[in-house]
Every structure is written in structure tokens, then in C-alpha cells.
Symmetry: C2
Subunit: 195 residues, 2 copies
DNA sequence: TCGATTGTCTAGCAGTGCTAGGATCGGGTC
DNA sequence: GACCCGATCCTAGCACTGCTAGACAATCGA
């Protein structure tokens, strides 16, 4: 039995290696550079090995997305916990926004995997993977309370999130000049959130 | 001379055909299906002909983006002109938002060409092509007046636009359920615009 | 009518995601 | 310890991608 267990461990370890390498390569050179050949070479296995772990490249992107969603949720919670304890809603929402945009800025490839690319994942449905639901939950925890009366907290969170997403993607794609990000965040928080 | 002129006309006509066909194919089957071979086959020329008009696939996407940006600007202006004449800012901003999201919804491939894909175009710079500048100008014309005092109209337009962009992309990518779009728009307009 | 130029196509390159089928290695059994 | 068999992995190849070199033909000016 212990032999099989060891093999299972090694397999799981290799799977982690694949995901981590794909992510690293994507952050270094963009997702276009993440080809099955390059990825296989980096993990020092042949191409078909990838397909014994994942159905295809899409599923590898999906795996990176799930990992990233968990980190995003953690980053958001970490950033908001301080202001949350101090009972300052304005500071909390500002901290959330900054943390979100910082994550998108510092992990562009991962952010793309979560929100732009097709990772074969279900969103906004019952069978949505847990990390994705939890990432939204992290936003909801912080934003739900500033929705204002008469406004559904989930819907408010969606709108606020969409705004942040728009800022993140347009800025990174060069559609918005990056200098005024802080001012834009302030405007968004002041107007959207009901304190 | 007239011979050369005729040839030039035919060339320009063929270029329009390429762009229109690329756009049509992209809307029908997605940009992934727009390969140089398929495109060449549809216009009934060989592949290299494409490269006598454009540097590569990227430039073809860029051409579709420019065409689309002009249409988006026109759509926005058309939608806002009525409420503008009536002097109703709230209705005007709502009309703009609906028109923008409707354009994204009805021309997903074109919208991607403008805002998601790499068409080799410069954004938010001096050498930004005129149609792109004009599309932003169309938004600015309508949104600048509801920025609120002390808020730069350009910056406000950027933020509002980013919010719409976030809603458009997240909805279409299945990240947001499409049912509540109207409610989201209402929330966005009520909160962001200063009337 | 001839030469040159312009225009177009065939064929091919290097790269992509993905897979069939053969080789090899190791564990379990006699 | 020797053997077999199954799991594991790799080589080689498929059909496709964007893009281009060079051959070919058609057309224009002299």
C-alpha cells in the first residue's frame, strides 16, 4: 500500500509543479508563451505527461485560476481586516479596492486566468468551484454593509466588483493612464459606497 | 491615370471586404475561428493577399476595432441625443449606459477587438487613432457634465466607462448573471452621476 | 510586339494543441 | 531470484496556426 501512496504523493507533487510552472511562465512571458512544449520542457517531462494530469491547456489555466482566486480572497481579507477592526467603513472599502487592484497589477497573468481567459470553469452557478465562490464572498463580506438601504448586497457587490475589474483591465491594457489610479479609486469609493 | 485609379478603388474595396469578412466571421464563430486561411477562402483570394493589405492578423483586428469604435461612438451619440434635447441628465446617462452595454452585447467580437484584443493600436496617447479618441469623446460629452464639482470630467468619464466595461465583460464572460443588468445600470447611474 | 512591373498563387517554414502506439521500468507473484 | 504484467512515459506524428519566399502570369508602357 505504501508504494501506491508514495506514487500518489509524487503524482500530486508533479501536478503542483505543472501549475506552478505554468503560472511562473505566464507571469514572466505572458500566457501566449505557455505552450505545452515549453511547459513540458520546464518540468522536465514530455508533453503527454501534462495530459495525464489535465484534459488540456484550458484545464491548466483553470487550475492557475483557482489557485489565484484563493490568493485574491486572502489578500482582500488581509487588507480589510485592520480597518474592519477599527470600524471604519470608508477605510475598509478603500483598502479592499487598493488590494484588489494591487493584486491585478502584481499578478496580471493570474488575474487573466481568473477573469479573462477560458479555464473551463463555471461562474455564478451552483457548480462554481469553491475558491471562486469564496473570492466573491470575500468581497461581499466587506462591501455588503455599504450597499445602502434598499439595495441588495450581492448586487451592489457585483457592481462594485465590476467597476474595479474595469479599472484593472483597462489600466493594464493601456486603455487608461496609470497615474490617476488612486484618484479613481477615491472617486469610486466615495460615490458608490454608502457609509 | 484612370486605370490606376480604378485599381486603387478595387484595392480599397478589397480591403473593406477583408475587414468586413473578418468581422462577420468573428461575430459568427469567435475570433479564434478567424484564421488567415479561412479569411482568405471567404474573400476568395489566397492567404498572401491579406498581407499585401495588412502587416498581419493583428492589424486586421485593429481595423475592425477602428470601425467598431466609430460605430460605438455613433450609437452612444444617437442614444443620448433625445434625452439631451429634453435636458434630462438622468435619462441621458441611463440611455448612454444602456446603449453602451447593448453595443457590447450585440457586437461581442467587435467589442473585444476594441477593448480586449491586441490590435496593435495606441490608446490614451497622442498618436491614438481618431476613432478611438472620438469614442471616448462621445462618452465625455455626455458624462462630463455629471462629474460633480471638484471632479475632473475626464477622470470621471474614465471611471464611469471602466464600470460599464467591467459590467460588459463580466456579464458576457458568464461571470455575472445577465438578468439583473438593468438594476445594475440603475445603481451605477444613481450613485456615480451627480445630477 | 517586346520588356518590365505589378499582382497573385503555390508551397513551405516553424510553431501550436493534442494523441496513438511502442518502449521501458517496476511491483507482485511463483 | 526469475518472471510476467501493468502502469508509466516518450517518440513520432496529426491537423492546424501565422507568415513568407519564390515561381508564375497578367497587364501596362514603349
Amino acid at each position: 500500500m505504501s508504494v501506491q501512496e508514495r506514487k500518489q504523493r509524487e503524482r500530486a507533487e508533479r501536478e503542483r509543479l505543472i501549475v506552478a510552472t505554468a503560472r511562473e511562465l505566464a507571469e514572466q512571458q505572458g500566457w501566449d508563451a505557455v505552450t505545452t512544449r515549453r511547459l513540458a520542457e520546464r518540468i522536465e517531462y514530455s508533453q503527454p505527461v501534462l495530459y495525464s494530469h489535465f484534459r488540456g491547456k484550458r484545464e491548466i489555466i483553470g487550475a492557475v485560476a483557482l489557485e489565484g482566486a484563493a490568493e485574491l480572497a486572502a489578500a482582500v481579507r488581509a487588507a480589510t481586516s485592520q480597518a474592519s477592526a477599527a470600524g471604519d467603513p470608508h477605510a475598509r472599502v478603500t483598502a479592499l479596492s487598493r488590494a484588489y487592484l494591487a493584486f491585478a497589477d502584481q499578478n496580471p497573468a493570474v488575474y487573466d486566468a481568473i477573469f479573462q481567459l477560458d479555464g473551463g470553469l463555471a461562474y455564478a452557478q451552483e457548480d462554481t468551484p469553491e475558491p471562486l465562490k469564496d473570492a466573491f464572498a470575500a468581497l461581499l463580506e466587506c462591501l455588503g454593509e455599504v450597499a445602502g438601504k434598499g439595495v441588495h448586497s450581492g448586487l451592489f457587490t457585483e457592481v462594485f466588483w465590476a467597476s474595479l475589474h474595469g479599472l484593472a483591465t483597462l489600466t493594464r491594457a493601456g486603455r487608461l493612464p496609470p497615474e490617476d489610479t488612486e484618484t479613481r479609486v477615491a472617486l469610486l469609493v466615495d460615490r458608490l459606497a454608502v457609509l
